[in-house]
Symmetry: C2
Subunit: 462 residues, 2 copies
């Protein structure tokens, strides 16, 4: 199997990326331009609060965000459209025509575990460029990190059993389907049903058969036989079109026919009903027929909670197809990921909005480990603060608008998640009410926070 | 303002659309091909159950699905990739190389209201083509209909006050951000912050300013003044960066300065805190300063429930920016939309899976109206059943793989939603526990259902 990794895969045509922004980014940019404000700004991307029941998150979409920033520009059609709005000056439109994203980005690598308040990436650029990057950076990193996080929870819950991504039809669009396949593979899934994603990212493709396949034959057994004839070494027969137990007996007959031809039925799939009960009944039917090698696959409505329930209950299911609920991160389809200015023109800044205050200054995150190598806590420090502790997580990913490093190969990102989860104590990985991972704020950040609050209270905003 | 409507806007490069499918569609296709099964199949796209608290749904994404079907083909790179998987025969790969989607589609027009069990569209094509269409059709129609439905509920709740789409950063990718802007405009929103979507769909762009804009100035008042200087006739000042009430007083000063220059401050924006309380305080501050023309905009965490609460409570808010919760349809990020074979080679078919049975046969939906023109119930009938009642909703949208009609202009789709909601009795539009809209099944469908069940029970599947 060829592993074709195609980079970059921009979500929309490169010439359109400049416009993939909120209108206010452009009106603010015109104001900065008119005021002659071209100071360097640093923006920090982080999550304020965990989604429900999350004790950690997995960074994904960082490389896609960087691809978008490399392409961020305004073609003639974009400039013409902006002129038509009547809001922008010719001088500013000329500026946009020559605009390229020229900033630097420090980021956690794809697949890193991160926690609340920690910058996943920081953009430093002339304020207009840094501001124009906001929408696309959040757009790409937020949902992909949610999908990777949800997928990692499923991998944990599946306790070693293989998982496949079946979400393509339920994700929010085709772009999301590709990113879901990628995020779930990075999180530890073994395969995807999404053929384009399989090709693009080098993920093994997988699939069985649909109910429509069965109903297009006059008899269920005809459908099973036809499939087995065509794919004698990779047939997984779908049992629930009419009656699961009845179909299991038919599958036994077909498996016996296959044996007589020197082949083995790979598996059977359950797609509705009570998986715990049905899997036990079907396992018994298969075993009684001497077909202990036939594997049972379950799909339909699965998520980490259901996987945990089935596996802890001892349901004899060998593989799972996971779709809808993970592909939209159903219990947490969004999170509070924000992109906040922390420094402008050498001056640390912050906002104080009710419940949404930010920490001032460019930052670094240090990860501490115990004697066994397990993760023992993170420290959020100032970018230039020298702490002789732990491992710094943000590294230079882009300078002068160009990648400093090639994107993480998907297998490297996948290994990073596996290593991260192996080092994260179980309490933080619990599916419900996880223990809070200790994240502290360095003395330098605390001092700066106090200083800026004092200045603001002293009338700095009047 | 130019209204540039660009069709088609494919979500991924046209040459890749063939692979945007689940792997099993291709293995089933190879089996059909090998068995010489090329009968016409009809598949029906419908929703089995309403998402929570929904009493109706709005069809969106139908035109995008049709665009994808027109482009559905396999280029050399796609065929080469499939060969590399080792699963497909050269004969089948040759067939795919020449494949074009050649089917017909009957569909409800974009913006139609639909209810459970009703086909939104039906595809009739040689079984391989109809099967290969499944993933992309569900992928496009499901989430866009969810977004349009959620948006329509917000429009209802806002009771005439203008809404703007602010969701771009929280949707699941850039494709979803474009579709959200479109779906929300179709549902009745007045504007979008998403510049690319505004251009592509001819939606008015809108925006204010971000907290970062404020923090990049030494003083809040400097930021307000700079913005007002640049946009003297379209300034909406953001109040909550440091302290909302304090900022409201500063905004009054700036508005007075603007008046002395012959301009008027357009509005102020609240983005955090208790909107009900803050909007009353800010309204009073503005009114006391003689600035009754300055409008109050609120944004942040809004959805139909919060809009209803604020408006029924009398909060003096004039416009709303709606983002995250609507852009991911947060309380219902997926629904049970399925694409089921209902006819194969002239033979009506159905599945009986637990809780997931389908109705056999190609269908038409008739909408009944009372004497006042209000919607009084729908009837699901067989496609060829002649009922002298109501208006048929499915019309021919594609024949021989080519559109029979141009896509619905966005304003026509928008009018269709407005007309639909105006004709739908209020009980079905309630935000919580809506009254169930009456959908009945014709005698013809009932007879066919019984007949097929009898045949299946008679051993048809053995």
């Amino acid at each position: 199997m060829t592993s074709q990794i195609e980079y970059p895969y921009l979500p929309i045509p490169a010439g359109d990326i400049g416009l993939l922004t909120d209108f206010y980014e452009l009106t603010m940019a015109q104001s900065y331009f008119a005021e002659g404000m071209d100071g360097q700004a640093t923006f920090s991307l982080y999550v304020r609060e965990y989604p429900p029941d999350r004790g950690y998150m997995v960074a994904a979409g960082v490389d896609d965000a960087l691809d978008c920033l490399e392409a961020l520009s305004f073609n003639d059609a974009a400039v013409d459209y902006l002129r038509d709005t009547g809001v922008f000056t010719e001088e500013f439109l000329d500026y946009l025509r020559g605009f390229r994203f020229s900033g630097s980005v420090r980021a956690m690598p794809e697949g890193s575990l991160f926690f609340t308040e920690e910058p996943i990436l920081e953009v430093t650029a002339p304020v207009i460029a840094a501001q124009l990057a906001e929408t696309i950076v959040i757009n790409q990193v937020q949902y992909q990190s949610l999908l990777a996080t949800k997928s990692a929870r499923c991998v944990d819950a599946a306790d070693g059993r293989p998982l496949a991504d079946f979400a393509a039809r339920r994700t929010h669009g085709s772009e999301a389907s590709l990113r879901m396949a990628r995020a779930s593979y990075v999180a530890g899934f073994g395969a995807t049903s999404n053929v384009l994603a399989a090709r693009r990212y080098g993920i093994p493709p997988t699939g069985t058969m649909a109910h429509s396949y069965i109903t297009s034959f006059d008899h269920e057994v005809d459908a099973f036989r036809a499939y087995a004839r065509r794919f004698p070494d990779r047939s997984i027969l779908l049992l629930d079109t009419y009656d699961t137990i009845n179909a299991a007996h038919i599958a036994v007959d077909v498996a016996n026919e296959m044996e007589s031809e020197g082949h083995r039925l790979t598996g059977v799939r359950l797609d509705s009903g009570d998986f715990d009960d049905l899997s036990r009944q079907v396992r018994r039917i298969l075993d009684d027929a001497g077909l202990d090698y036939v594997r049972i696959v379950a799909s339909g409505g699965l998520d980490e909670y259901e996987l945990e329930r089935l596996i802890q209950g001892g349901a004899p299911i060998d593989m799972f197809g996971v779709g809808t609920r993970v592909g939209v991160s159903a219990d947490a389809p969004y999170c509070d990921m924000v992109y906040k200015m922390v420094c402008y023109d050498g001056r640390p800044v912050m906002k104080l909005s009710a419940g949404k205050a930010s920490l001032p200054g460019g930052k670094q995150v240090f990860r501490l480990r115990d004697a066994d190598g397990n993760m023992a806590g993170d420290v959020i420090a100032l970018e230039d603060e020298r702490l002789d502790i732990g491992e710094p997580l943000l590294t230079l990913a882009m300078a002068d608008g160009r990648r400093s490093l090639p994107p993480s190969p998907i297998d490297a990102a996948r290994q990073r998640v596996a290593d991260g989860l192996a080092a994260l104590p179980a309490g933080h990985r619990r599916l419900r009410a996880p223990k809070r991972y200790p994240v502290s704020v360095s003395d330098g950040v605390q001092r700066l926070d106090k200083q800026i609050r004092r200045e603001l209270a002293g009338g700095g905003t009047q």
